[in-house]
């Protein structure tokens, strides 16, 4: 019995050493999974998808029951809003037409890059509490590439960090290890945004930057993301005189707790 125990200890130590070595070798980050990983990932993803969808179904069903109370009130406010938005939309349409006319007049080049959208569903989220990584059901077969931006209708979600044959890993912008170069839409001040363990977005801005609560934050030209993607609104600003910087807390426009469907975007044709 004594011998068996020692044998177990020896095996454990050997495996531990082997794992330390693999950690050291793989911690630099990978973008392509190995064949074995790819195999496991491809088999597990469809199963995960089923379970994820089941969870969503239950959440939505129970959600509806609890929302019945407020439904009528919501309906009224929404109808009012539709009327208002329709009116606004009509105005904007007029403006777009006018814009196009004037643009044609000036022979302006279309500077907005055109994106190619790949729709994807989320299949699983990182079980740990430290990082925010999730998997989606589109991969190499669907032309997803590493560093592609992932968005929803509301705004930026994250970026693809690893691509398998039919699945990809996405690192959310609220992940501890993610950092993005951003710009304040109103004042054009640039800064760096990164996530933290609490899944909040924190931006570091220069002390002299003029930034207030409610400012819109978008990605800048210097980031791995495409420029001009919407991130969120400023929630609070904290001045740190000694460090000559401002600590800005950002409320993301995307609700990371309720992510279901996302788009992977890539530039179809490079501008110019």
């Amino acid at each position: 019995m004594r011998f068996l125990k020692n044998k177990l200890a020896v095996i454990t130590v050997i495996i531990a050493c082997a794992l330390i070595i693999t950690v050291a070798f793989t911690s630099k980050g990978r973008t392509r999974p190995t064949t074995f990983e790819s195999f496991v990932g491809s088999t597990i993803t469809p199963v995960q998808k089923v379970f994820f969808k089941t969870g969503e179904f239950f959440k939505n069903t129970f959600g509806t029951i609890f929302e019945l109370k407020t439904l009528k009130k919501d309906n009224k406010t929404l109808t009012e809003e539709v009327v208002k938005l329709k009116e606004e939309n009509r105005k904007l349409y007029q403006m777009a037409l006018e814009n196009k006319r004037l643009r044609d007049l000036l022979e302006f080049k279309e500077s907005n890059p055109k994106y190619e959208y790949i729709g994807a569903s989320i299949t699983g989220k990182d079980p740990g509490n430290w990082f925010d990584i999730f998997t989606i059901d589109k991969g190499m077969k669907n032309d997803v590439e590493v560093n592609d931006s992932v968005i929803t209708g509301q705004g930026l979600v994250g970026r693809v960090i690893e691509v398998g044959s039919n699945y990809s890993k996405v690192m959310a912008i609220i992940d501890e290890r993610s950092s993005i170069s951003v710009i304040v839409n109103r004042t054009r001040d640039t800064g760096i945004v990164s996530g933290n363990v609490n899944s909040e977005l924190i931006a570091v801005m220069p002390l002299e930057s003029d930034i207030v609560k409610g400012d819109d934050i978008i990605t800048s030209d210097f980031s791995t993301f495409y420029k001009g993607l919407y991130i969120g609104k400023v929630e609070s600003v904290e001045k740190q005189e000694r460090k000559l910087q401002k600590l800005v807390k950002i409320k993301t426009s995307v609700d990371f707790k309720r992510l279901e469907e996302v788009f992977v975007i890539k530039q179809a044709t490079l501008a110019d």
């Binding site: 177990l8 454990t12 079980p127």
Partner: protein, 181 residues
């Protein structure tokens, strides 16, 4: 029953046991990344892998604890991790160390499950923190302790005994047992 039939029966049960445990690891992983995401309270999710590891470590000792820890951890690293082996290493050591207590605890009481769940979460999270610390991820320790480790250990201590009961029942089934009467 003759000596040889007994041996055949024992080795058959051994294989069945390993198969069932592997299945448990796989199911646990799939549920953890999908349905169990809805068990988050204030952003903290209980660690069901720890519950599985501690339950088996208490019942069957270091070999089982380490084995389950290693494979559930590697599966997590494979699908969600960046560096291979961070979770595998932390979970394996946790399972091995908790399993050392195997001969000295009452297996049909819920108390060891509560205590060891708290211990295992602390152990695992600290190992994990230590390894990620060396791979240049700057996370504040006090912040992690207050916001992740302590809430999670409490959460685990509540759910652990319940799951332990179920796993204990499963383990008592004749096909899982190595007692032959």
């Amino acid at each position: 029953m003759g000596e040889s039939t007994l041996n055949i029966e024992l080795s058959r049960r051994k294989i069945v046991r390993i198969l069932i445990i592997s299945l448990l690891i796989l199911i646990n992983f799939i549920l953890e990344s999908t349905l169990f995401q809805y068990t988050r309270v204030f952003g903290v999710k209980p660690d069901f892998t720890i519950i599985l590891i501690t339950s088996y470590a208490i019942m069957r000792g270091s070999a089982f604890g380490g084995f389950i820890g290693l494979f559930s951890g590697l599966l997590q690293d494979l699908i969600f991790g960046n560096a291979m082996g961070i979770n595998g290493l932390s979970y394996m050591i946790t399972g091995y160390l908790i399993g050392q207590s195997n001969e000295n605890v009452f297996k049909d009481s819920f108390v060891p499950s509560v205590i060891f769940n708290i211990g295992a979460v602390f152990l695992y999270q600290h190992l994990f923190f230590l390894i990620t610390y060396f791979s240049k991820t700057n996370i504040s320790y006090t912040h992690a302790l207050l916001n992740i480790i302590i809430p999670q250990s409490i959460y685990n201590a509540i759910l652990g005994p319940i799951a332990y009961r179920l796993i204990y029942k499963l383990d008592e089934k004749s096909f899982m047992n190595n007692k032959i009467y």
